[in-house]
């Protein structure tokens, strides 16, 4: 957590600094080709996968969006947020409400994004005045208070038993299973949000976020109001959380107060850092991590799955302290003479 403003200890470097990457990749057509192959894979995959695998991929997209949202406020802007699960849950509840009340799906989606964003904005209006961990403190309260609130308004939320909501069934013209159809919807929305985020984070706004994270005094001198950009980051992050909530409900079809839990927030946070803080790909990798690590751990020993995921987490960070997104960079460095830079880090 960015407790003390140590100038040297900022978060991971932005992706793609390495410059002279393999020259093949530099070729525009190669890149376009690669991208097309990737898109084809993503779109074609569900047709040949088991329903469970399709479901897993759907959940990867869901949590990738949640992680991305957290990344915006925490990775890029440096404001520790321990409440992302609350926005996720709120988005899911709003969706559930909309679906059960027969709202138009697009309207439901907009509401599922907008309401968390508004709440995030309101919280941030107050919280962004604080510095460092005090903000974390405020965000911690969101899940803590959110859960009893969700239980109390049980006519809307279904109380502690939660709500099962069936929606987003495959239209018959598509010839798809429900799982496949939901996969496409979720992946499409997620992709759109990733594109928006990546645009936002490159250029003027992204640089403003970064300087708020690294040095608020400099930010001010550059015409960046730390307060306003923190509020913006929180709002966007909550919006992404809400969107992830909508997608979550699309995937799981069930929501309960547990969805809001602090535990989920911490897992999302871990996924963000392990994926790679302040990187777009990192958020996607974080989603993969979130979904697959418990799965892999259970394959090793179902009775000790949590413990094994703890080990996996530590091992990944041991090898790649900058997160999974730094894997290519690390591999490149290892290949180039194996000269590890241990001594420099000794200070």
């Amino acid at each position: 957590m960015s407790g003390s403003p140590r100038p040297g200890a900022a978060t991971a470097a932005p992706a793609g600094t390495g410059g002279r990457l393999t020259s093949v990749l530099a070729n525009r057509w190669v890149r376009v080709g690669l991208a097309l192959v990737l898109v084809a894979l993503v779109l074609g995959a569900p047709l040949n996968m088991t329903p469970y695998a399709v479901y897993q991929m759907t959940m990867v997209a869901v949590f990738a969006v949640a992680v991305l949202g957290l990344n915006i406020v925490m990775g890029y802007t440096g404001q520790v947020s321990l409440g992302q699960s609350a926005f996720l849950g709120l988005g899911a509840y709003v969706t559930a409400y909309g679906v059960t009340h027969g709202w138009n799906l697009v309207l439901t989606f907009v509401a599922a994004c907008a309401l968390p964003a508004v709440i995030g904005w309101l919280v941030a209006l107050a919280a962004a005045r604080l510095r460092g961990l005090a903000i974390a403190m405020v965000t911690i309260t969101l899940p803590i208070v959110g859960i009893p609130l969700a239980r109390r308004f049980d006519e809307i939320t279904g109380g502690s038993g939660g709500m099962t909501v069936a929606f987003l069934e495959a239209p018959s013209w598509s010839g798809l299973d429900n799982d496949q159809w939901r996969y496409y919807v979720v992946v499409l929305v997620a992709a759109a949000f990733f594109l928006l985020a990546s645009n936002l984070l490159r250029g003027r706004i992204g640089r403003a976020f970064a300087i708020v994270r690294d040095n608020e005094s400099v930010a001010m001198a550059m015409g960046v109001s730390p307060y306003r950009y923190k509020v913006l980051a929180f709002t966007v992050s909550a919006l992404f959380g809400g969107c992830a909530g909508f997608l979550y409900l699309a995937g799981v079809q069930y929501v309960s107060p547990e969805t809001l839990s602090f535990h989920t927030a911490i897992n999302i946070l871990a996924a963000m850092v392990i994926g790679g803080s302040a990187t777009i790909v990192g958020s996607l990798l974080g989603g993969l991590y979130y979904v697959f690590v418990p799965f892999v751990a259970a394959q090793v020993n179902p009775n000790r799955a949590a413990m094994i995921s703890g080990i996996i987490l530590l091992v990944i960070l041991f090898v790649l302290p900058g997160g999974l997104a730094t894997l290519p960079r690390t591999v490149r460095r290892l290949r180039r003479g194996g000269s590890s830079s241990r001594a420099a880090a000794d200070g």
Binding site: S4, R333, R336, G337, S339, S341, R342, A343, A344, D346, G347
Partner: protein
């Protein structure tokens, strides 16, 4: 009189970027040597190599002992105080605490207290702000504090990295004067990186000029001051 500190063909690199390509120099016991060079020549890196802060090759010996592979705190405990470039103060501690941390390896409390007084005499600015947090000091005051902290260790060898940076002209002259006195009193040896060559030459007897990681010229200060290119690049006029 053999050399107290000896660097022989020292290389250093950050990660895979090599920065020093064979630097050699020697500091006699009780002697003072300067390092000159342009921005990015590798002056700071040379000092860091001595203190074990970068990966190094070649040989570095202090009092007959090899320093290569030691950690910074191990080097410091051998009696080498390094006043780093930039703000090397402990910002969250008070001025007084900074000085005490400087004296961490020393045991004699009375002597330490005495030295604190001496430092405060030397830097009256610090005396005024003795219980203020170091981070609130002005740039120059922080620089003074960093030097004072180095002195508090009562080292055998003092590594100064642009100690005059940000000091007002008169203060800089005073500080260098005081360090010179200290040196005479306690047979302190030193290695001095300094952009203000005129100032450095008030302290050192000889100097080395670095250029892109290599020592390209070294000799007694009179000899160096005589050379045209040195005058032009480092002394002016």
């Amino acid at each position: 009189m053999s050399a107290l500190l000896e660097l022989d063909d020292v290389t250093a690199s950050y990660g895979h970027v090599q920065v020093l390509y064979g630097v050699s120099l020697a500091v006699e016991d009780g002697g003072a040597v300067g390092i000159l060079g342009a921005n990015g020549a590798g002056k700071t890196t040379t000092l860091r190599a001595i203190s074990g802060m970068v990966r190094t090759g070649g040989s570095i010996t202090f009092d007959g002992m090899s320093l290569v592979g030691l950690r910074p705190d191990q080097v410091a405990r051998l009696g080498i105080a390094h006043v780093p470039e930039g703000r090397g103060t402990l910002g969250h501690l008070t001025v007084k605490e900074n000085l005490l941390v400087g004296a961490y390896q020393r045991k004699n409390r009375a002597e330490i207290a005495q030295d604190v007084e001496r430092c405060l005499d030397l830097f009256p600015n610090l005396a005024d702000r003795i219980s203020a947090s170091a981070a609130s000091l002005s740039g120059g005051e922080q620089q003074m504090l960093a030097v004072a902290r180095g002195i508090m260790a009562r080292p055998r060898l003092l590594l100064l990295d642009e100690a005059s940076l940000g000091l007002a002209p008169s203060t800089a002259a005073n500080v260098y004067g005081a360090i010179g006195r200290l040196r005479r009193e306690s047979s302190l040896s030193m290695l001095v990186v300094e952009q203000n060559a005129a100032l450095a030459f008030t302290l050192v007897e000889s100097a080395t000029v670095l250029e892109t990681g290599r020592s390209v010229l070294s000799g007694p200060k009179e000899e160096l001051m005589g050379k045209d290119e040195i005058r032009r690049a480092y002394l002016g006029s």
